[in-house]
C-alpha cells in the first residue's frame, strides 16, 4: 500500500485529492442515510448558509495564514462593518445604500489596517494576542453603536434577491450569493498561485528574511494582506446580513474559527508558506456536505459543532501521524537490512 502510494505521480499525492475523496465519502454516507432529504438540489440551496459568508472570510484569512500570521478579529470586523452599513443606511434620512456598502468595506479595511500596523510595528507581540484584543475592541464599538438593539430594514434586492434569491440553471435553483463567491474564486486562484505578487506572498511566509534580502517588500505585503483580510471579513458580514436581514453586535460570533478551520482544512498551515485556493473551495464543499448531513441526522446545533470539531482535529492530524508512522517504518526496515549485511 505504502509503496503504491509513493509510486503515484506527484499531482495525485496532493492534499486536494484527499479532500475530494472525503467529499464523496460524506455524500455517499448521508445520501444513504437520508435519501429523501440529502439530495444535490437541496444541498445546493443550503450552500447559502454554509459556503458564502464563511467562504469570503476564509479567503481573507488564507492570505494571512500563508504569511505565517493569524487574525482572530475577523468575526468582530464583520460585525462592526455590518453595523456601520446598517446604521448609516437607517439613521435619519440615511445615505444611499451603495454609499453604506462603501463605508462598510472601508470599515473592514480600517480594522485590517489597525491589525496590520500593530502586528508589523510590534513584532515581539504575538498576532494571536494582538487580534484577540482588537476583536474585543471592534465588537465593543459595535456594541456602543447598537447597544442591544438590532438594525434592520434594507433594500429589497439585498435581503430578498441576494439573501434568498436564486436563478435557474439546467433545472437547478442556484443561489445568487453562491455565484458571487464562485466568481471571486478563479480570480483569487490566479492571483495567489499564478502571479508574481502571489508568489511573493508565499515567499514571505516561507522565509521572511530571505525574501526581504531578495527584494520582496515584506512589510508592505503584510499590511496589504491584513487590509484585504479586513475587507473580506466585511464582505462575509455583508452576505451574512443579507441572510439574517438584520444586524446585532453579536453578528458572526465564532466565524473566525470556522474560517480558519476551512483554510487549514484546505491545506494552509499556521506556520506559514502553505495554502491553496482549490483546497479551500473543496474544504468549503466538504463542510457544507457534512454540516447539512449532521443537521439532518441529529437536528442539534450542539452535536453538529462537536462533531465538526472532532473531525477537524482528526483530519488535520491524520497527515501528520501518517508521516510519522511512515518514517518509523523506514527506519525499522533499514535496521533490518543493516542486520542482514
Amino acid at each position: 500500500m505504502e509503496r503504491a502510494i509513493s509510486r503515484l505521480p506527484r499531482w495525485m499525492k496532493r492534499w486536494e485529492w484527499i479532500l475530494v475523496i472525503l467529499i464523496l465519502v460524506v455524500y455517499a454516507i448521508f445520501s444513504g442515510l437520508q435519501p429523501e432529504n440529502y439530495t444535490f438540489p437541496k444541498l445546493l440551496n443550503q450552500t447559502r448558509v454554509y459556503m458564502v459568508d464563511v467562504g469570503f472570510m476564509a479567503l481573507g484569512i488564507l492570505v494571512v495564514l500563508i504569511l505565517g500570521d493569524i487574525d482572530i478579529s475577523i468575526g468582530a470586523t464583520a460585525a462592526l462593518s455590518a453595523t456601520v452599513m446598517a446604521v448609516t443606511y437607517n439613521q435619519g434620512d440615511g445615505i444611499p445604500f451603495i454609499a453604506a456598502i462603501a463605508l462598510m468595506l472601508l470599515t473592514g479595511a480600517v480594522c485590517g489596517l489597525i491589525n496590520g500596523l500593530l502586528i508589523t510595528r510590534f513584532p515581539e507581540l504575538f498576532p494571536m494576542i494582538i487580534t484577540l484584543s482588537t476583536q474585543t475592541l471592534y465588537r465593543g464599538i459595535a456594541y456602543i453603536i447598537l447597544k442591544d438593539q438590532s438594525a434592520g430594514r434594507f433594500p429589497g434586492w439585498f435581503s430578498k434577491d441576494l439573501g434568498y434569491g436564486s436563478f435557474s440553471l439546467f433545472g437547478l435553483d442556484v443561489p445568487i450569493m453562491l455565484v458571487c463567491i464562485l466568481a471571486v474564486l478563479p480570480v483569487y486562484y490566479i492571483w495567489l498561485h499564478k502571479s508574481a505578487s502571489g508568489r511573493r506572498i508565499f515567499a514571505a511566509g516561507t522565509n521572511l528574511t530571505a525574501s526581504r534580502y531578495s527584494g520582496v517588500q515584506t512589510g508592505r505585503i503584510k499590511m496589504a494582506a491584513f487590509i484585504l483580510n479586513g475587507i473580506m471579513a466585511a464582505l462575509g458580514g455583508f452576505f451574512l446580513t443579507s441572510r439574517t436581514g438584520s444586524v446585532k453586535y453579536t453578528l458572526a460570533t465564532g466565524y473566525e474559527m470556522q474560517a480558519i478551520a476551512i483554510a487549514v482544512l484546505g491545506g494552509a498551515s499556521t506556520s506559514g508558506g502553505r495554502g491553496s485556493v482549490a483546497g479551500l473551495l473543496l474544504a468549503l464543499i466538504l463542510m457544507t456536505g457534512l454540516k447539512n448531513g449532521l443537521m439532518l441526522v441529529y437536528n442539534d446545533a450542539f452535536i453538529l459543532n462537536l462533531s465538526i470539531g472532532l473531525l477537524l482535529i482528526l483530519i488535520v492530524l491524520v497527515p501528520d501521524i501518517a508521516g510519522r508512522i511512515r518514517r518509523q517504518n523506514t527506519v525499522r526496515r533499514q535496521r533490518l537490512t543493516l542486520k542482514k549485511t
Binding site: 502571479s195 508568489r199 511573493r200 522565509n207 534580502y213 527584494g215 543493516l338
Partner: protein
C-alpha cells in the same frame, strides 16, 4: 576483525535519497588520535556520510564499528552517548540563548539538593571549557551576538562537554579568515594531542596538508581511496576529486577599470562601523577583507538596504541615493549575495528554479501571469552554468549539498542584472572546480562593465582577483592597496587588531 588502533570503522555504507544514490559502498576508518581529512566535490556525499555516522540519517546498507564493536546509530543522541560529536556544515545553535546554555543544551547540569538546573554550575563549567580552548568568550553572552568563529568555538566546547572521543568538523573554516582558521586549528591540534580522533571536511587543501595525517577522497558518492598525507600532493588530490586536472584556477583579469559607479562617504552605523569611505568603478573587482567581525558584512548590508546607516552618503552613478530597503537597492542596481545562505539566501523548501527567479519575477511574467516555461529555462540555464548538482530545477533547495546551495544563491544574484554586485564570501563551501567557474564569471562580469565588491576572508582570492583591496579593522578601513602593492603580510598586518598587532607581528613576519 578489528585492526589495532582503529577507533572507528565504516564499511559498505550506502545511502539512497529519492532518485539519488548519495553514498555507494563507502568506507572510512579512523585511527585513535589522528586527524583524518575527508574531501570531495560539492555533492560528493561527505556531509551525508557524517550524518549517517551521527545517526541523523539511517544508512540503507553498511556497518559501523566503534572500538571493533558493531553499533547502530539510531538517532543523534545514541551517537552522542557513544562519544561521537559533530559540528555540522550549517551551524545549529540557538541564537537567543546564552553561550553556556548552548553548550549544555540537552545535557543540563543539575546540582545541589534540588533536582533543577544549576545555573552557577552551568556557567562555571562553560567558562572552564572555553578557557581550555584558549578563548575568552563570555559564557553569558547571547549566542547570536558572537561571530561565526566564536560560535564554532562554542560548538567545539559543546562537543568536549560530552567527552567526545571522535570529533567531526564539516567545513569549520568555510567562513573564517586565515587568522581565525589558525586559531581554530591550533585548538584542533591540541585535541589531537589529548587523544581525540578528528574527521575534518574542508575544501581548503592548504589546511589539509598542514593538519591531516591521512586523507580520504569521495567522488559522486563513491569511495576513491585513502592516502597518507605525505604520499600525496595537491594536483593528485584534485585529480582524484574532480576526475580531471584544473589548469587555470584564477583567470587572468583583463577588464580595464572605467567610470566610477559607486561612491561611499563617511558611512557610519554606531557600534558596527565608523567613517567608511571608498569608491567602486565599472569593470573593477574591489576586495573588502579583514577579520570576521571587523564590520565588513555590516557595511555591505547598509549598501544593499538591509539596514540603515546613522551617518554618511551613498552615491550611485554620481547621484546621491537613499537606499531604504533591499527592494530599493535592487531598483538602484545594487544586489547582495548574503553571508548566510540558509537563513538569508534561500527558501529551503522551495525548488531550485523558484529560488533563482524570486528576485526578478518581473522577467517571467506574461500578461501578469508567471510563465513556468520561462522559469524552468532560467533555472536550467544556471544549473548548467554553475554546474549545480541537482536532478532538475524542481529539486528542493534543502535536498542539495551545502556547496550546491551556495551556487543557487549565486545564481539568484546573477539573475538580478544589477550594475553593482556585492558578494559576501561567495565561494564559501564551494569545491575547487566550481570556484574556478565562479571566478571566471566574476571576471567576465567585470569585463562587461559591472562593478564587483568582494567581501572575502580567503587571502588568495583577494590577491589574485582584486584590482584594489580595502582592509577593515575594528569597524574602520585601515588600509587600501592597489594590486601591485598587495602582499599577504601587509594585508594581515592591516587587519590585525591594534593591541594585538604588535605582538602578532612576529608570528606573521
Amino acid at each position: 576483525m578489528q585492526k589495532e588502533g582503529l577507533i572507528l570503522q565504516m564499511e559498505g555504507i550506502t545511502k539512497i535519497f529519492p532518485g539519488i544514490k548519495a553514498l555507494d559502498d563507502v568506507m572510512l576508518d579512523l585511527r585513535r588520535g589522528e586527524i583524518h581529512a575527508l574531501i570531495g566535490e560539492n555533492g560528493a556525499g561527505k556531509s551525508t556520510l557524517i550524518k549517517v555516522l551521527t545517526g541523523i540519517h539511517q544508512p540503507d546498507a553498511g556497518i559501523i564499528r566503534l572500538n571493533g564493536e558493531e553499533v547502530e546509530m539510531t538517532d543523534p543522541l545514541a551517537a552522542r552517548r557513544r562519544g561521537i560529536a559533530a559540528i555540522h556544515q550549517h551551524l545549529a545553535t540557538y541564537p537567543d540563548l546564552s553561550v553556556a546554555e548552548n553548550i549544555f543544551m540537552g545535557n543540563e547540569q543539575t546540582g545541589g539538593k534540588i533536582p533543577a538546573i544549576s545555573w552557577r554550575k552551568t556557567r562555571e563549567q562553560a567558562k572552564a571549557l572555553i578557557t581550555s580552548l584558549g578563548s575568552d568568550i563570555d559564557p553569558m553572552a547571547e549566542m547570536g551576538t558572537l561571530s561565526v568563529a566564536q560560535q564554532q568555538i562554542v560548538e567545539i566546547a559543546q562537543a568536549l562537554s560530552q567527552n567526545a572521543k571522535v570529533l567531526i568538523m564539516d567545513e569549520p573554516t568555510a567562513a573564517l579568515s586565515l587568522r581565525e582558521s589558525e586559531e581554530l586549528y591550533s585548538i584542533v591540534k591540541g585535541l589531537k594531542e589529548k587523544g581525540t580522533s578528528i574527521i575534518l571536511i574542508s575544501h581548503r587543501l592548504e589546511d589539509i596538508f598542514s593538519l591531516a595525517d591521512r586523507v580520504t577522497v569521495l567522488r559522486d558518492g563513491r569511495y576513491i581511496g585513502t592516502w597518507d598525507i605525505r604520499e600525496t600532493n595537491s594536483e593528485m588530490l584534485v585529480k582524484h576529486m574532480v576526475g580531471r586536472t584544473i589548469d587555470q584556477f584564477y583567470p587572468k583579469k583583463t577588464a580595464p577599470v572605467g567610470e566610477q559607479i559607486l561612491k561611499v562617504e563617511g558611512l557610519s552605523r554606531t557600534g558596527f562601523f565608523e567613517d567608511v569611505s571608498f569608491t567602486l568603478h565599472a569593470g573593477e573587482i574591489l576586495g573588502l577583507t579583514g577579520l570576521v567581525g571587523a564590520g565588513r558584512t555590516e557595511v555591505v548590508e547598509v549598501l544593499s538596504g538591509v539596514t540603515r546607516p546613522d551617518k554618511g552618503r551613498i552615491y550611485i552613478l554620481g547621484e546621491e541615493k537613499d537606499i531604504t530597503s533591499p527592494h530599493e537597492a535592487l531598483r538602484q542596481g545594487v544586489s547582495l549575495l548574503p553571508e548566510d545562505r540558509q537563513k538569508q539566501g534561500l527558501l529551503l523548501p522551495w525548488s531550485v528554479q523558484d529560488n533563482i527567479t524570486l528576485p526578478r519575477l518581473d522577467l517571467h511574467q506574461k500578461r501578469g501571469i508567471l510563465s513556468p516555461e520561462s522559469e524552468a529555462k532560467t533555472g536550467d540555464e544556471y544549473i548548467g552554468m554553475l554546474n549545480i548538482k541537482a536532478r532538475s530545477g524542481r529539486d528542493t533547495a534543502e535536498s542539495l549539498s551545502g556547496g550546491n546551495q551556495q551556487k543557487v544563491v549565486i545564481s539568484k544574484l546573477l539573475t538580478c542584472g544589477s550594475r553593482i554586485i556585492i558578494m559576501d564570501e561567495p565561494t564559501k563551501g564551494v569545491d575547487v572546480g566550481s570556484k574556478a567557474a565562479i571566478y571566471k564569471i566574476m571576471c567576465d562580469l567585470a569585463a562587461e562593465g559591472y562593478g564587483i565588491l568582494l567581501v572575502s576572508s580567503e587571502m588568495p582570492e583577494v590577491l589574485n582577483l582584486c584590482d584594489r583591496a580595502l582592509v577593515m579593522r575594528e569597524g574602520r578601513i585601515s588600509a587600501v592597496f592597489i594590486r601591485e602593492e598587495m602582499e599577504p603580510e601587509k594585508l594581515l598586518k592591516a587587519a590585525m587588531p591594534l593591541d594585538k598587532s604588535r605582538k602578532g607581528n612576529a608570528e606573521y613576519a
